[in-house]
Subunit: 408 residues, 2 copies
Amino acid sequence: MKSDLDPLMAARELQAIVVVGDELYSAGRDYLSNGARITGGLVIKRRGAAPVLVVNPMEIEEARDSGLQAISWYDLGWAQLLEENDGDRDSTQVGMWQRALQRLQVPPGRIGIYGTAAVHRFIELLPELGNLEGYDFCGERGMTLLDEAAMTRDAAEMQRIRRVAAGTNATLRATWDFIASHRAVDDIVCDAQGDALTIGALRRFVRRTLLDYDLEDTGMILAQGRDAGFPHSRGQDDQPLRCGQTLVFDLFPREHGGGYHHDVTRTWCPGHLPDEIADIYETVSRAFQVALDAWDEPGQPARELQEAVLDFFEGAGYPTPRSEPGSEVGYVHSLGHGLGMAIHERPSLSHTSDDCLQVGNVISIEPGLYYPERGFGLRLEDTLTIDESGALVPLTDFHKRVLLPLQG
Amino acid sequence: MKSDLDPLMAARELQAIVVVGDELYSAGRDYLSNGARITGGLVIKRRGAAPVLVVNPMEIEEARDSGLQAISWYDLGWAQLLEENDGDRDSTQVGMWQRALQRLQVPPGRIGIYGTAAVHRFIELLPELGNLEGYDFCGERGMTLLDEAAMTRDAAEMQRIRRVAAGTNATLRATWDFIASHRAVDDIVCDAQGDALTIGALRRFVRRTLLDYDLEDTGMILAQGRDAGFPHSRGQDDQPLRCGQTLVFDLFPREHGGGYHHDVTRTWCPGHLPDEIADIYETVSRAFQVALDAWDEPGQPARELQEAVLDFFEGAGYPTPRSEPGSEVGYVHSLGHGLGMAIHERPSLSHTSDDCLQVGNVISIEPGLYYPERGFGLRLEDTLTIDESGALVPLTDFHKRVLLPLQG
């Protein structure tokens, strides 16, 4: 968690970290800045000290609202530096980094650069940063310092995560009830006037409902039939909702403007349930339970949960990423992933993962089976956390029924 | 525009460009990929050829929907490479780049890396990319190839940009009408039941309205009184809307899920208009007209419009970024900016800009005056385009009245 940052920096022999971002929400910068509503600037954390925001003067009030110290470009002499650099804003940035590090009394040594930003610019600025006396800039690959810190959540984070879960659960209920208020006409889901309910209209309904809980859609999947057979197909807005077809509804909203996520998938069959779908749904439900049953105790390798599910699916005759890497049918992905201020974080629950599960993790578990050419795909997913007692407990609270009955 | 990419690559002696992105919407990758709904992967454009998407197999259908050629990681032998690299996903990525460039028959030479992604990872991968035989990877600073291409819009882009403008205009009208349906109680804007209208409730109304046009809020400003005096203060959701105070409403939505933007600001004073505000509003309105009057013809330096506005404000006795760099009162920012798939693009309309204005530009013009300690700030902004005839024409279509009358 955040309180681990200093030891994590010490282990990497970093005197400070500089966390950058672009104009949009940027998970790393947001994590360090207490969610300050800034669209530019840096967060600098000297080892042993609280993060400090270095921002555009137009955003100084937003930066201060975070409760952290904030310095503006102007305070650091931006205008003068720009003149000295003949209007070159990139070289001016390098000068600002130097002044900020000095102002924060960061001792000479290694400085880690982290965050999501314009790669093309950093590639060109690296040599100039390398010329700054006393500092040696580096990045990080694999499991980074921020990945490691973010894998476990403190109490304040869990409070926000639970609020996002509550809004998502309510949205699931509202969406089920909304579809259930329709009726079938020639196997098409229609409203009382006989107009078809399209995927696009349903998507708008979900987005509006999320807003009631100050959540925002980040690309939900509402894919039916053949589309549902491709795990990341988002679905086609002009299609009407059809009875007896699988609708994969994968919802992964976040706090509006950027923040914590929830991740849940349900597969619904409106009106009636073909036997073939019922059978496969039963298998996926059992796979979900197999994953839960494989949970043992904190410290357990995450891959063991996926391995149990792989054993189960392979035993039932389905291809998996272990038995047939590259297969586009059967079970084609990993079991889940950590989530937080980004939707995909560590730990990874793939069978090639070296990550271990720990108290304070927030993870998804999401087995599925995909057969696009047979016209269906199914997935079931909850977000769960490992609590203080070492139990794996769901944050998602919504039933897993597949048949969604319509109005008589 | 996009059709300029090949000559722009030739001018930089680039054999190909590789455009990366992170999981979220990424303007550069979206621009090259026709908005493919992918959350990972690369876009590679060989000079003289159409862009090709290299994606996660789970997203191959989404990638193909773009109309561009798509290759999956599995097609390139990802599983085998991962094994060869002992499970190191970063080194595997480097191997994938090599295979993808070979598959697309990119001749040896310079390859430009562009886009928004994890900087820490690229810093560490650069040396390995440098070892790929035959290819020399570089970034770009200052005005990049993508900046330059995106500065002018083709007909297909203009169609989308006009649709975003129409939805934004409709949202402005609906928001004005919504506030106007309220009445004043003790100088607080209240509904028919006498309950105060809060900034938070108004923000939710705007977000819901945007959804009706498939637009999404990317951080609108709804700041009143002192908050309005800080250009990027987003406003406080728990505050009730107050009569006789300036409400700066800066709306810059985009196509839902990522895409083209619109950018507009209105300053409204609900209920009644203090003389001091009326006077300053008149000055800002005149500054807006000064900017339009300074427009001459395509090829004109963008800074000339800002210089005209600086002359005007300075002549009227207000501090500006030219007369008092670093001032936090008066006119404290540049006149405007290009906008497209990102909210801030080139050309820059600052007085230090070297950019020229051209046919096909889409820009904002947004003069303002800020006095937080006097309890107000005002800004007026339209999005405009330079059309084929060389005229600077607004895409924003909403009146600029400041007094917003309430119900008797």
